[in-house]
C-alpha cells in the first residue's frame, strides 16, 4: 500500500483523536469505547473489567503504535502483515465510532474536515476488510 501525502496527513490525525477519548467531560466517545459486558449485572461487569482492563489498554496501545508506525512509512510504500492489517481495522473502527459519537457536539467550524476524515476512514476500512476477507478460509 502506498499512501499519498494527504492520506498520511489524514491518518496521522487518528492517534491523537483516539488519545483524546475521555480527556474531557462529557465525552460520548468514552462511553461508546468503554469496556463492558454485563449491562444488567454490575458485579459481573466490574469483575469483567477487573480481568480485562489491562489487556484492553495494552492491546490498544500496541494497535495504535503499529498503526502510527506503518502510516509514517506509507508514503514510501508499506506492506502490512495480516496482524498489522487487523490492528489497522481495530484502530479505524474505533476512530469512526469516536467521530460518530461526538458528531452532535459543537464543532467549532470543523464539521467539513471531520466529515472528510470520517469518509476517508470509512473508505480505507472498507478496502482493508475486503483484502482481509480474501485471506480467510
Amino acid at each position: 500500500m502506498t499512501l499519498a501525502p494527504w492520506e498520511v496527513e489524514l491518518l496521522s490525525l487518528v492517534p491523537a483523536l483516539l488519545d483524546s477519548v475521555g480527556k474531557f467531560d462529557p465525552d460520548p466517545a468514552a462511553d461508546r469505547l468503554a469496556l463492558r459486558a454485563y449491562p444488567f449485572d454490575e458485579d459481573a461487569d466490574d469483575e469483567f473489567r477487573r480481568l480485562l482492563a489491562d489487556e484492553l489498554r495494552h492491546g490498544r496501545a500496541a494497535d495504535r503504535s503499529a498503526f502510527a508506525i506503518t502510516v509514517e512509512s506509507g508514503v514510501d510504500g508499506v506492506v502490512l502483515s495480516t496482524p498489522e492489517a487487523e490492528a489497522w481495522l481495530r484502530v479505524l473502527a474505533e476512530a469512526r465510532l469516536v467521530q460518530a459519537a461526538r458528531a452532535d457536539l459543537p464543532a467549532d467550524g470543523r464539521r467539513e474536515s471531520d466529515q472528510a476524515l470520517f469518509d476517508y476512514l470509512s473508505w480505507m476500512q472498507g478496502s482493508l476488510v475486503e483484502i482481509l476477507d480474501e485471506v480467510l478460509p
Binding site: 459486558a37 484492553l56 490498544r60 481495522l89 474505533e94 465510532l97 476488510v129 482481509l132
Partner: protein, 71 residues
C-alpha cells in the same frame, strides 16, 4: 453473547469480525449481520463463561457492541 445493531460500523466489517472471531462462512456471517441490522440484535454465540467473556472482549476491540447474558 449478544451483538447489538449500531448505525456506525460498516456492514462488511461486522461480517468480517464474525468470520474472523467465530469462524463463520461468508453466507452465515452476512445473514447474521443482516439479522442484527434488521431486528436490533442477535445471539451470536453461546458457551462456557470464560470462553464467551473472551470472545465478547475481542468483539468489542473491533468496535462491535457485544454484551453477555446468562442463558
Amino acid at each position: 453473547m449478544v451483538v447489538w445493531n449500531d448505525e456506525v460500523n460498516l456492514a462488511a466489517h461486522v461480517s468480517f469480525v464474525f468470520r474472523r472471531l467465530i469462524g463463520m462462512n461468508r453466507d452465515d456471517a452476512t445473514s447474521l449481520m443482516l439479522q442484527i441490522h434488521r431486528t436490533g440484535s442477535a445471539t451470536v454465540f453461546s458457551g462456557a463463561r470464560e470462553h464467551v467473556e473472551l470472545l465478547c472482549f475481542r468483539m468489542r476491540t473491533y468496535g462491535l457492541d457485544a454484551t453477555l447474558e446468562v442463558a
